[in-house]
Subunit: 233 residues, 4 copies
Amino acid sequence: MKEVIQSTDPNHPANLIPSLCKHFYTLGWVTGTGGGISIRHNEHVYLAPSGVQKEQIRSSDIFVLDWSSQNYIYSPPSLKPSACTPLFLTAYRLRDANCCIHTHSQWAVLVTLICEASNLTKFTIREIEQIKGISHGGIGGAEIKEGGRKSGNLSYFDTLSVPIIENTAREEDLTDAMEKAMREDTDACAVLVRRHGVYVWGKTVEQAKTQAESLDYLFELAVRMRQLGVGWT
Amino acid sequence: MKEVIQSTDPNHPANLIPSLCKHFYTLGWVTGTGGGISIRHNEHVYLAPSGVQKEQIRSSDIFVLDWSSQNYIYSPPSLKPSACTPLFLTAYRLRDANCCIHTHSQWAVLVTLICEASNLTKFTIREIEQIKGISHGGIGGAEIKEGGRKSGNLSYFDTLSVPIIENTAREEDLTDAMEKAMREDTDACAVLVRRHGVYVWGKTVEQAKTQAESLDYLFELAVRMRQLGVGWT
Amino acid sequence: MKEVIQSTDPNHPANLIPSLCKHFYTLGWVTGTGGGISIRHNEHVYLAPSGVQKEQIRSSDIFVLDWSSQNYIYSPPSLKPSACTPLFLTAYRLRDANCCIHTHSQWAVLVTLICEASNLTKFTIREIEQIKGISHGGIGGAEIKEGGRKSGNLSYFDTLSVPIIENTAREEDLTDAMEKAMREDTDACAVLVRRHGVYVWGKTVEQAKTQAESLDYLFELAVRMRQLGVGWT
Amino acid sequence: MKEVIQSTDPNHPANLIPSLCKHFYTLGWVTGTGGGISIRHNEHVYLAPSGVQKEQIRSSDIFVLDWSSQNYIYSPPSLKPSACTPLFLTAYRLRDANCCIHTHSQWAVLVTLICEASNLTKFTIREIEQIKGISHGGIGGAEIKEGGRKSGNLSYFDTLSVPIIENTAREEDLTDAMEKAMREDTDACAVLVRRHGVYVWGKTVEQAKTQAESLDYLFELAVRMRQLGVGWT
């Protein structure tokens, strides 16, 4: 089944995962082997491997899972599947997403620490233009409406709310808490993991990536607002 | 009319918009599809499309508007014109500018938040050398005079003042406030939008770009000065 | 013996040292000729030269030491061996490491300054996911276990502790203190040098590099946590 | 005399100035046309032009001055010589330097603002390893001595002191104050200009560049130390 990770199309998951990981590395999202990404492509789920330098992944390092049977149809020799796998699959199952990005961005971690000090289990912010880059449930319609807003996206006066789940020793043990958070807040576009990072998904790779960027922008801005004594909501 | 977006000259708007957007992305100005740019070239206005990854724009993704008729003479299939369009046109109409850049830079947003806490509707700073990189009205003469200052630019002891308008739910609804701010302060080189970003223009692409850089430098410096307890004026 | 610094393999130390130094320069680890790196390859120790622009090193600028005789078998004309050499060798001798990285990262320096104010001779942090990127002793097994943790790495609820030694006028005079710190804390993955930087090692180049990244991430996060009033342990 | 700006050697001033300006732009030193660089090469002084995008300079944009006659032997059509010229020449005359770099780095500006609040006319810092990257007078011998220190450089327990002169409306009016500061403190490796930036020189391009990097590192560190309440001396 080696053909599933071979394509000359730069937008094929086998090529996108390496190029996006290289890019995410420059953003500080996957430093020191942290973080990851998965893309669902028709009946196949592509997954970056665990514990390797993300900026150096090649197509042949990617795991491919068959969606219906949940069996690996391609496994790189001497690599291990990512412990994030059940979390990525949760995003696909509950939101019908097709891409999920996991970052260890320091801004995400700092936001969860600031919230922890106030016993908050969700991060909320409002009246910042970049909120309009986030869709309802993370999978809202991307058609541009009048006013420059996408049909399924938050408007400027909406409040963005991202649930925060508590970290666990083993990454896969986050699965139940992530599923619970996603079911309780069907509008949530992402799940923050306390002292760890964030999971962001989208209907398409582009939606997942641009929402991950908009969220990271908002997390960074929120930390700087806090340092300047400016409230979030 | 496909020929208006085809040129082998790297300084033609059809090529400059993609390369500048790629560059602005690395500066954090257009993350997550935010921000934009427009160039007026003879009788044609070139506009980056709405809601797409700005760092991946190609020439064929650009909208072209005829200046006199205000009709689109080239529209990329399946893309939407930017909601910033009426704001870009305002800069061309009121200042006879030929390029307008819109960023979501966090430093611009933070400056508007700091000013909000003091009920200020303009950002002012003085006696910082980089102020000399800004021209009167944003379109002052670029000829270098003695002392290293451009003929139409602020001098070191001038006070730079940038009006701040309040954000609206729909980007095009900013147009009236932007026009009012530009008419009331004919010396203004840019307009800040509260909790949103900044619009900067210039007589040329180079003037708009270097002024956007100088302003962003001043916004960042102002935020850091505030954190250190140093006043702006 | 010029052949020891000639190889067409990009992963050979003679090629890795230049490419890693170029990369470390972009991370701010080796600015202004500071910092360095060494790789032990079979019986040969490769060492970046002293006092040169690290981002411009070529293969022919690298010193090569014979491990058993401790004699240089290749010395670039008109360059001097790094004063870090005895420190790199200490990591090889005490931990059986094969790569050692020395950075002047500002985050490392700031962490030692914060600790100095509290008379602390070690930096400790816990319950941050990125801790899982660090191995026991810096040379723990890299096999991925269930939960996404490497077999020899810290778990989420472990406390990461990095000893801090006091700086000296001459870099080689740090050797005794580094050896003492490594012997007293056999679990230490690195040694911080007060007001100077950090030494990080690994069983492989990849382990040393990814641990240096994870540590730098933790140092930066710790500084930002301090600015926000969030404790480390 | 067009041949003075034509060379196939990447280390010739006509090629180094464009490549260094491009690099300095990525460091934030010459944003928005600010800053500059000059190299003295035998009897010729090469100077980046005034008021242009520094990251886009080509060899043919460079001014060349004859050292003995002080006349321009090459002037690019439609460009103006830099207002920094008399300041660069002062460094050559008083220190026998051969390269001088002028940056608008925000860290340099912030350091002068912090000093201003305490009425300080010099920036001093000590016991930071990176100080060893700075030479006495900016032109000390670069031969590596034992301990990893260059023969003409500061040692770890020396105090680095950089004089700060007050800014003026016209850049060339800084010349007298710069000369006075350099004569009064013959050990000074650079001159800070309040609310403006820094001038750094060296015997060679490499010395000027690495000292500019080490100073910028120290300025940034000093600002962060101040934010954490850690003293400089």
